[in-house]
């Protein structure tokens, strides 16, 4: 009822105010495929106002003078700039469908620098949008990978180059929310965390929030990775097939009546390359993933509306066919529908989505002496949100997110005690936000999430708010200062052992009732400088205290001991990014300086991913003969390490009744993570070239990982003292065929 009243009031307000000014809105798409272009720039020259498209390619600019022709300029990376005249009648909303032509491959520039326009309304702080072309610019480790690409950004770190798991601004890896078309993906990795389970071929856009995320996002302390998949080619059937040293994959897309579809599948073909990743002779990994999406937008039946259905399935198995070794498996599935609507005569966007997500992981010990573990998680979520832009440009957004989670876990900890639990909870969250845009060059967005129920309890009784504020101020066209403050709660966590180098089995659980949900407070301030059309500099500083940080109880010896205990910590840091772009050349440098401290059970230490200095230098160059050259040099100062101070004989009780004991040598460790490993650095390069052969487009890619064969230390075997290094010099080759 409240929603209906609000809706009517908004409609009335829009009709009343629309007499004075008008609104321009529309969608920007690829002219060949009809694919939405997210974060394209739409700029009105005469009034010097603009907007960026959202992940669905939509934009909206309000408060425009009526009854006069103005010039709309639309730009997007790798596409021809489009300019045209537009006209708005008093009290009307002008809707545009803008199709951009992709540049021919041999003419394609890194970025059309001259077309870059400043966005007048931009609350984005600690935010990056990654398009497919941006992902391709990062030299890849065997497979193009979204999460590995994120690691090139300031504030993103990891404990090794072997794993695709990542840490954002001092948060643990389970503090990152990964959304695929709105559905939470709990284990978005293949092959023990070496690669992302989401095939980059199906990605349309990636929104990445390193902090200060707006009120519509919740449930994690540190970051949000919002992946939107492609809709499929609206105009013609097409297909792609690619094979590399690890996987083979295929993609088919095409039009259906009033819509389009896309299906992609990927499977590992040969695991020999993985031996370099894990220093092992045998990696019996078997994985695949399948994604699909179909959408329907009949203008006669569904004016201004779009309906889509999507699915994602991934499966991993590690099977040695050896009774003395354990088998490990995990799988994700996500199915969802979404409904997106623009009201015809009102600047109102509305979205409704239902997603069903399943995650299941299992360790079958066979006769290895390991313990059986199984984790099952089922999530059913219903999201609805709307946003309304007032004629004076202020914007209001609100929504309800209802989530039901069933979670079961059977696990034995390292001490041999079994934890077996099933949880069934529901969370209901309201969010609302209001953006004050009416003041020129200044913006203030304030919002909050209101958690009506708590997952662990499943009913009302514990309410908490997550207020958030974002602000910016434009200093002319060359600088923007910005700031953010917000509270972020997290009710799910993994039972991961942070001492493990590679954690294969990371069961997800609801933070139990006996612990308060973890929360973090984000304090962020920054400045963006636009020095020349091709040169921009961004700097941000942050401070993030994390309270009630759930951690595995390493001193659980008895059944009644809690599995999780509360820790706390904080991270603070400074990030600097410099981007230089011209027609055939780009260079970006991302530097971060950070400190992270964690405290559990009166023990204060640096987590294993705490790296003081991180620097990523990335360049992309168009060479003669249409060869594209990409290079990435990464430097991380040393990660924390716990040294060994000696050995002693540990008594093993073989038979207590007969008092038969034996001794085994046992290591004595120094203060936890008190020293640092040597610095990590590595250079990756890649050359790629596309060949157009009649109906076929071939893309060859040759990459070299660790060009100068830097011996970066991965870990030391405690038993032997043997040093295990990360990835060595490793050339790889891949080929993609498009029809």
């Amino acid at each position: 009822m409240i929603k209906k009243i609000l809706f009517v009031l908004l409609i009335a307000a829009s009709v009343q105010n629309a007499q004075i000014t008008g609104t321009l809105r529309g969608q920007v798409t690829d002219s060949l495929s009809g694919e939405a272009l997210s974060y394209a720039n739409v700029f009105i020259k005469e009034f010097e106002v603009g907007a960026a498209t959202d992940v669905r390619g939509f934009f909206q600019i309000t408060n425009l003078p009526v009854s006069q022709i103005f010039t709309v300029k639309v730009t997007y990376v790798g596409y021809e700039t489009k300019e045209f005249g537009a006209f708005i009648r008093a009290g009307k909303i002008a809707s545009l469908s803008i199709k951009l032509n992709p540049l021919a491959y041999n003419l394609q520039t890194i970025e059309k620098v001259e077309n870059r326009v400043p966005e007048t309304r931009n609350y984005n702080i600690s935010f990056e949008s990654l398009s497919p072309s941006r992902l391709e610019r990062v030299p890849q480790n065997v497979e193009a990978d979204i999460f590995r690409s994120l690691k090139t950004l300031g504030g993103v770190s990891s404990t090794s180059d072997v794993s695709a798991r990542f840490n954002v601004r001092g948060g643990s890896s389970n503090q990152n929310l990964v959304l695929l078309d709105g559905a939470t993906i709990y284990q978005p990795f293949h092959a023990m965390g070496l690669f992302s389970a989401v095939d980059p071929e199906i990605i349309n856009s990636v929104e990445f929030y390193k902090g200060g995320f707006p009120a519509e996002y919740g449930g994690r302390l540190s970051s949000v990775v919002n992946i939107t998949t492609k809709d499929g080619n609206l105009n013609k059937f097409s297909g792609k097939a690619a094979a590399g040293l690890l996987t083979g994959k295929a993609l088919v897309e095409g039009p259906i009546p009033y819509g389009s579809f896309i299906i992609s599948g990927r499977k590992n073909l040969d695991n020999r390359i993985l031996r370099s990743f894990l220093n092992s002779d045998e990696i019996p990994v078997n994985f695949h993933d399948i994604s699909f999406k179909a959408n329907y937008r009949n203008p006669d039946l569904l004016m201004g509306r779009q309906f889509s259905a999507h699915g994602f399935f991934s499966s991993d198995k590690i099977n040695y066919n050896d009774v003395y070794r354990e088998d490990i498996s995990w799988k994700n599935s996500a199915l969802g529908i979404s409904w997106y609507q623009l009201l015809e005569e009102s600047p109102l966007f509305y979205r409704f989505a239902i997603n069903s997500v399943n995650y299941e992981g299992e360790v079958n010990p066979n006769l290895s002496g390991k313990r059986y573990k199984r984790n099952f998680l089922r999530e059913l979520s219903l999201d609805t949100e709307f946003s309304y832009i007032f004629p004076y440009q202020d914007e209001v957004g609100a929504g309800i997110q209802i989530k039901e989670i069933e979670n079961s876990l059977q696990i034995e900890n390292r001490k041999g005690l079994v934890t077996s639990s099933t949880q069934h909870g529901a969370s209901i969250v309201f969010f609302v936000k209001y953006a004050l845009n009416r003041i020129k060059d200044f913006g203030l967005e304030a919002g909050t999430r209101f958690n009506v129920t708590r997952l662990a309890v499943g009913t009302a009784g514990e309410y908490y708010f997550e207020p958030r504020v974002l602000t910016f101020y434009n200093i002319g066209n060359f600088a923007r200062i910005k700031g953010s403050w917000g509270l972020h709660f997290q009710e799910m966590t993994t039972l991961s052992d942070e001492n493990e180098v590679i954690s294969v089995f990371e069961p997800w659980v609801v933070v139990p009732e006996y612990l308060y949900p973890a929360y973090a407070i984000h304090y962020i301030a920054g400045i963006d400088l636009f020095l020349t059309p091709g040169l921009s500099i961004g700097a941000e500083a942050y401070y993030k205290p994390m309270l009630y940080w759930p951690s595995v109880n390493e001193k659980k010896y008895f059944e009644q001991d809690p599995d999780l205990i509360n820790g706390q910590g904080n991270s603070r840091g400074f990030e600097l990014s410099v981007n230089y772009l011209e027609r055939t050349f780009s260079l970006s440098a991302n530097y971060s300086l950070s400190w992270t401290i964690k405290s559990i059970d009166n023990l204060r230490y640096y987590p294993r991913y705490d790296s003081r200095h991180n620097l990523n230098l990335m360049t992309s160059v168009k060479l003669p003969f249409d060869i594209k050259f990409d290079a990435l040099w990464t430097f991380n100062s040393g990660l924390p390490y716990t040294q060994l101070v000696g050995y002693y004989n540990k008594l093993i009780i073989d038979d207590l009744r007969e008092r038969i004991f034996s001794f085994i040598p046992y290591t004595i460790l120094s203060e936890r993570n008190a020293t640092r490993l040597p610095a990590y650095h590595r250079l990756d390069i890649s050359f790629s070239r596309r060949f157009d052969l009649s109906y076929l487009n071939l893309t060859m890619d040759m990459s070299i990982i660790n060009l100068y064969d830097r011996a970066n230390i991965f870990y030391f075997e405690r038993d032997s003292g043997k040093k295990i290094n990360m990835l060595p010099f490793l050339p790889t080759l891949s080929m993609k065929v498009e029809i």
């Binding site: 490990i328 041999g416 005690l417 180098v501 060994l644 101070v645 000696g646 040597p678 100068y708 030391f716």
Partner: protein
Amino acid sequence: MKKLILICVILLSFFSCESSFDPNADFRQDYAVYFILNGDQTYQTAQLIKSSPDKNGVSQIETGIPGAEFRLIYDNSEYILKDSVSAENPGKNYYTINNFKPAPGKNIRLNVKTPDGKILTSETDTPLSIKIQFLEGTDEYVPNGLSRIAFVWKVLDAPPEGQFYLPRLVIKYYYTDSGVKSYHSKEVPVSLTYQSGKIFENYPTPIAGNYLIYDWEAFDYAFERLTLADTARNNYTVINAEFELILMDKSMTSYYMSSKSFEEGFSIILDQTEFTNITGGFGVFGSYFSAKNYKLRIISDYIIARGYKRE
């Protein structure tokens, strides 16, 4: 700029290096004390171990360190352990005490002064009670026609919480050779696992609960294998089966559990966690009692059908 970048890349390609890093810190001399009190007897032994900077060195020093002082404080009295060399293993050094039999529910403190003057301390609370009664629901004989054998018990004079048991079920029998009997027992696994055409036996670990269920097929499997390769089964006389409970104190149980650590295949544990209740060092100071044995009758027909004799 482009040329500059390319030059940098080429230069870096010639720059290969390896940093030296020592995973070991400066050696620190540490000690471990192992003192496990047996509540069923009056003679107790302890051992003092010292650490070594290298792994191979550890195996050389498992014999125990002489020259330390071991003091027990029990019921407001102090007891000093004797520094002695094992008669059976002349190279091994122990600390021993006679006429010391701890009672249930008692606090015992330990002070150790190492030869180089370092002080190690600990304390433990012995199990609360050894008065245990088996309850209805416990099987009296086997085979019982069911697929399981159940044992249920309760503590008579102490709260049930805080008791930790190490259970064991054994089949007792003797072998007769030329009129001479030799007594034996065979432990029964709690369950069996079948995989790849092989059968694997699972034995119980310490529990805090008050019941334990054995699979009948596990019992049958063990019973069938009393004789191993000996086909002359009539030389084997089956007495009965006996379910034994050992009560361990909390420190003892924690140590027992922590020493059963395991690692997951690809999960490479960098840092280890362990239990010790020795302040200033490593090891354990704990106690246990043999609490109660329960005799389980084995039906004669079943014994005879398997070719054994019954007592």
